[in-house]
Subunit: 178 residues, 2 copies
């Protein structure tokens, strides 16, 4: 069961740099999923997230057209599915079907949540000025969801060519940083 | 001893989302260091990196003025120093001196490398159009260095309020992703 995640906490899940899944829903086609590692926080609240989506990607067209997406964060249990999603294209494959993932309806956008992911962020594109030159979109997160059963989820971080580091030890240091 | 890192490999160290240190060297002041977690890759080669630097930060002024910086990647051995650097300001503190770090000269920019870090990326600001609205700089990495003695360095990832995940297990999955 997904629970509401306060928007002010969204950065805590993006800032560590995990591999994420981006869903889109273009009209008259099954919703698509892509694997993404080029993203960062731009502001705390409302949460702004920058991401780079390759222009050759099937998701690029849907994102450009609908201006909506969901960033879903997979944990280590979904590592193989996450790379497999990155290895095929939504042009020819219905990825929710092929990878037995559950598309759940969000509150704010038409793009689906991925029920198996431990965090889902409903996002709207709010700035496209860097799309032409860098394929970079600025997203505002307008609703966020967390699966409380996976509070200790370990995420994966891409180091190139299918090598990933998995979250290890958690340390707490004296910090004034938010 | 630092060794040249081919520019095509730079993304492998930024894409996993580690906390990094950003050095700048404004004229007539000691070089400064800040701690940074809001950054992402924008292109492979030449490597383009986007980063967000708070406008209130001492480094923001130096970066705006000199258009040069170094992104230095600390490993777990520097975790406490990394948070301590984030807890004080270069306005009143000479951070290289206070934290006993070694400023090393780069080849391309005046901002210093941090010899204790396992990767150092010399960068130039190449696009400032998103600075005014988002405090976002686009950097091009023009030279890169790695410490071969720290090939297995574990990095840290910020989860908010001084909590960090440390790189754990490394897994290799069948991936067509670069």
């Amino acid at each position: 069961m997904l629970k509401n995640l306060p928007l002010e906490k969204v950065y805590q899940f993006i800032e560590p740099g995990p591999v994420v899944l981006l869903t889109t829903a273009a009209p008259e086609a099954p919703p698509d999923i892509m694997t993404m590692s080029w993203h960062m926080m731009m502001d705390f609240e409302p949460p702004l997230i920058a991401c780079v989506v390759s222009g050759g990607n099937h998701s690029f067209a849907a994102l450009t057209k609908t201006k909506e997406c969901v960033i879903a964060i997979p944990d280590i249990d979904l590592a193989e599915v996450t790379t497999a999603i990155g290895n095929c294209t939504g042009r020819t494959v219905d990825k929710f079907d092929k990878f037995h993932l559950t598309a759940a309806a969000g509150n704010e956008v038409a793009a689906p949540l991925i029920a198996e992911c431990f965090v889902n962020l409903e996002c709207r594109v709010v700035d496209t000025r860097f799309v032409k030159k860098y394929n970079m979109f600025v997203l505002e997160c307008v609703a966020a969801w967390i699966n409380p059963a996976k509070a200790k989820a370990k995420t994966i971080h891409h180091r190139g060519y299918g090598e990933f580091s998995v979250d290890g030890e958690i340390i707490k240091l004296k910090s004034k940083m938010r």
